[in-house]
């Protein structure tokens, strides 16, 4: 009888653990995937180097924090900066040359972009494995400590990460739906030619179209 009660309690704790961890991990996935969807909306690019860019940010952040003594927050900022540079390099070295190439037929651009970003992702993976390691690394938590949620010890860091992800997603939604710029972009996604006739520079707006098509 006691064994049965204990088993039920363990199952209940495991269920809560899955709910909490799943919520935080899903928020992280949402944050990354919205960027992925954004780029598809802008230019039809399914960026297969996406995971590579995320891991560049993660490993540079970890390396800066642990090996360069930049601290957890300093390392995180350097990691974000490294991810930013990696994504720009992906655009400038892979995506833009393929999109602008006159040698590639327009109807074949997407497959070239898929191939190009896939190969670029493999290059990033190989370079990171050479410079760092294949083994997963973990940064120190941004916020230390744990809290008890329904008998499950949950790191404060995990709760903070879910909150940050939702804050950023909400901020992006507000920019798209509540600002003049966002509304212009929304209009651009619906009728780009009409917006051009109104005097807007489409090449500038084109950068933003993906944001507005997502709303």
């Amino acid at each position: 009888m006691r064994f049965e009660t204990r088993r039920r309690r363990e199952e209940s704790v495991l269920g809560v653990q899955i709910l909490i961890d799943g919520f935080a991990i899903s928020a992280l996935y949402a944050l990354g995937a919205i960027g992925f969807a954004l780029i598809f909306g802008v230019s039809g690019v399914l960026n297969l180097a996406h995971g590579g860019i995320m891991v560049v940010a993660a490993l540079i952040g970890w390396f800066s924090a642990s090996e360069l003594s930049a601290g957890t927050y300093g390392g995180s900022l350097l990691g974000i900066l490294a991810g930013l540079l990696a994504a720009f390099a992906t655009y400038l070295l892979v995506v833009r040359p393929i999109q602008r190439s006159r040698a590639i037929p327009r109807e074949e651009t997407e497959i070239f972009l898929l191939t190009g970003t896939l190969l670029w992702g493999i290059m990033i993976q190989t370079a990171l494995a050479y410079k760092f390691t294949d083994n997963p690394v973990t940064m120190h938590p941004l916020i230390p400590g744990v809290v008890n949620i329904a008998d499950v010890r949950t790191p404060r860091n995990e709760i903070m990460i879910a909150a940050v992800c939702w804050f950023v997603i909400g901020l992006l939604w507000l920019v798209i739906n509540r600002t003049r710029l966002g509304k212009t972009l929304l209009a651009a996604s619906m009728n780009p030619r009409g917006l051009t006739l109104l005097g807007f520079e489409l090449s500038q707006i084109h950068w933003w179209r993906g944001v507005s098509t997502m709303s």
Partner: protein, 96 residues
């Protein structure tokens, strides 16, 4: 500018991932596959669908990690992706 937003989102997600779960170069394919699954499942171009799909994939992976094995965590989401692409090619919530 959209690439700038993407850069910040991907960088932030990477750093938070390292702080929450830990990651390495061996996880690159899995992370790309997860993002690809989420965006296709949610319907390309639907932010609400992307959010819902992210939670579907996130919970599928978490349940698999706890109930089966952590190394098999991406498998169910990829199987679901194959089924959805076959049955509903515009995604679970995408526009036709």
């Amino acid at each position: 500018m959209a690439w700038s937003i993407y850069d910040v989102l991907a960088g932030l997600a990477g750093v938070l991932l390292a702080s929450c779960l830990g990651t390495g170069s061996g996880n690159i394919a899995q992370l790309t596959a997860s993002a690809f699954s989420i965006v296709v499942l949610g319907g390309l171009g639907s932010v609400f669908g992307t959010l819902q799909a992210a939670y579907l994939v996130g919970y599928l992976e978490t349940i698999t990690a706890y109930a089966v094995a952590p190394t098999l965590r991406p498998i169910p989401a990829l199987l679901l992706l194959v089924i959805v692409v076959y049955v509903r090619p515009h995604g679970l919530l995408g526009r036709r």
